[in-house]
């Protein structure tokens, strides 16, 4: 996914967005987008539409439900849901509304109308995979490997391993024959 610097709005089939917001910086940490749906479940369990691995999030913490054209936020988990600092059982949630899962848990923002591409979270909101790009010095690797495989111990070990595996394969063949 790349960030477009163009101001042109590109039609997006996903009309619903839920964003996980970093409470300190306000930065979008993660975002989920959905086509038109009537219910979006939120919780720690992997099967939730919005799944968040956080100790303050219940397995099935809350739901966003579409009722008569309006979106409602419904609290389900025992840790509660807060809107503007107040605990709610269920409440209508506007486009762009934010809520918190438990008093110490993550903050989410909800959009029920399509976001323009330029408003979508960029890769800077998701850790760029290049940060974790394994950097291997293949020359150094090969030199280290050479230093080990050319030892008498390694050569003997390899032969022993081959004999052991041959013996096992024979045993399996004998057992199944």
């Amino acid at each position: 996914m790349t960030h477009s610097s163009s101001t042109a709005v590109t039609p997006n089939p996903n009309t619903i967005t839920v964003q996980l917001v970093d409470s300190a910086s306000g930065r979008i940490v993660q975002a989920w987008q959905f086509p038109p749906l009537e219910t979006i479940s939120i919780g720690r369990a992997a099967e939730r539409e919005v799944s968040i691995a956080d100790p303050y999030v219940s397995r099935h913490h809350a739901e966003l439900r579409l009722r008569d054209g309006a979106w409602w936020l419904v609290a389900l988990g025992r840790n509660g849901v807060l809107v503007n600092g107040r605990s709610i059982t269920e409440t209508e949630i506007p486009d762009g509304g934010t809520f918190r899962l438990s008093s110490s848990g993550p903050i989410l923002r909800f959009y029920s109308s399509p976001l323009a591409d330029r408003e979508l979270p960029t890769l800077s909101g998701v850790h760029d995979a290049a940060e974790f790009l394994p950097q291997i010095n293949t020359e150094k690797r090969d030199e280290e490997v050479r230093g080990i495989v050319e030892t008498d111990y390694f050569k003997k070990l390899r032969e022993q391993a081959r004999e052991l595996r041959k013996g096992r394969d024979t045993e399996i063949g004998g057992a199944s024959g």
Partner: protein, 256 residues
């Protein structure tokens, strides 16, 4: 024919012992007789995950290596910690732990004198035979040395545990290559302590392309795991946590 699985990391702190303990428990609970041997003699630790108390009258792997006992005498049934409520008369599920000694004198002796690595291999085969194991998990010492090479050489499956961390990348590349030279039949990588906002698909692809090796699981960096502090089996406490469900996927590969 018992399957031997080694878990290895190039560096310490990758979560290898946690991965080994939880993986062995999942495999045991699938109705198998499983052994877990702590060959990290220099810094033993996996026993804590099974809440195993080492005592004066209990043998450890070190005693076997010094000729003080048969290896099966250093094996302890920890099925209760793994599966709980298993009838003693039940043949399966069973999980046996062969711990290494925590005694500092024992560790110092190993560091000073070393030991006959060939004895380890004999011990593995004896364990499988005496305890009628279906699977033997070897929790290895980090890094490449004679005993870790031995474990790699005799293993049917090698699970390489690494973090998405520059300190792990180069050494893991060496270990992958050595495992290939030793013709280990099955080799895959488990990436542990993956930060929560990582692009997992991209990370998996990067690692698979770099090492030409399957990534069997991406285990999340977890607050719950840190809080548990190796005080028990995470997969029992949090069976639906992504860490546990990912390991269940790894177990399925081993059970094939």
């Amino acid at each position: 024919m018992a399957k031997i699985i080694s878990t290895h990391s190039f560096r310490g702190g990758t979560g290898k012992s946690n991965t080994t303990a939880n993986l062995s428990a999942i495999v045991a609970k699938a109705g198998n007789r499983v052994g877990v041997i702590d060959t990290d003699i220099q810094s033993p630790g996996i026993h804590t995950l099974f809440k195993f108390q080492q005592g004066l009258n209990r043998f450890a792997l070190n005693d076997y290596l010094w000729g003080r006992c048969r290896i099966e005498e250093a094996a302890y049934d920890v099925t209760d910690q793994c599966a709980g409520n298993v009838d003693e008369s039940t043949d399966r599920t069973r999980l046996f732990l062969i711990p290494s000694s925590l005694n500092s004198n024992e560790i110092a002796r190993i560091l000073r004198e070393g030991y006959d690595v060939a004895l380890l291999n004999d011990g593995f085969q004896q364990l499988i035979s005496q305890l009628k194991l279906d699977y033997l998990f070897i929790d290895t010492h980090p890094g490449v040395n004679e005993e870790t090479l031995l474990s790699l050489a005799i293993s049917d499956v090698l699970v390489l545990v690494m973090r998405p961390d520059q300190q792990d990348f180069q050494g893991t590349a060496v270990t992958v290559e050595l495992a290939r030279r030793l013709e280990v039949p099955e080799l895959f990588i488990v990436v542990n302590k993956t930060p929560p906002d990582t692009d997992e698909q991209a990370l998996r692809q990067q690692i698979e392309n770099t090492y030409q090796c399957d990534v069997a699981a991406l285990l999340p960096l977890s607050v719950e795991m840190a809080r548990m502090a190796s005080g028990g089996l995470f997969s029992n406490r949090f069976p639906d946590h992504p860490f546990s469900t990912q390991l269940q996927g790894v177990a399925k590969r081993i059970l094939r």
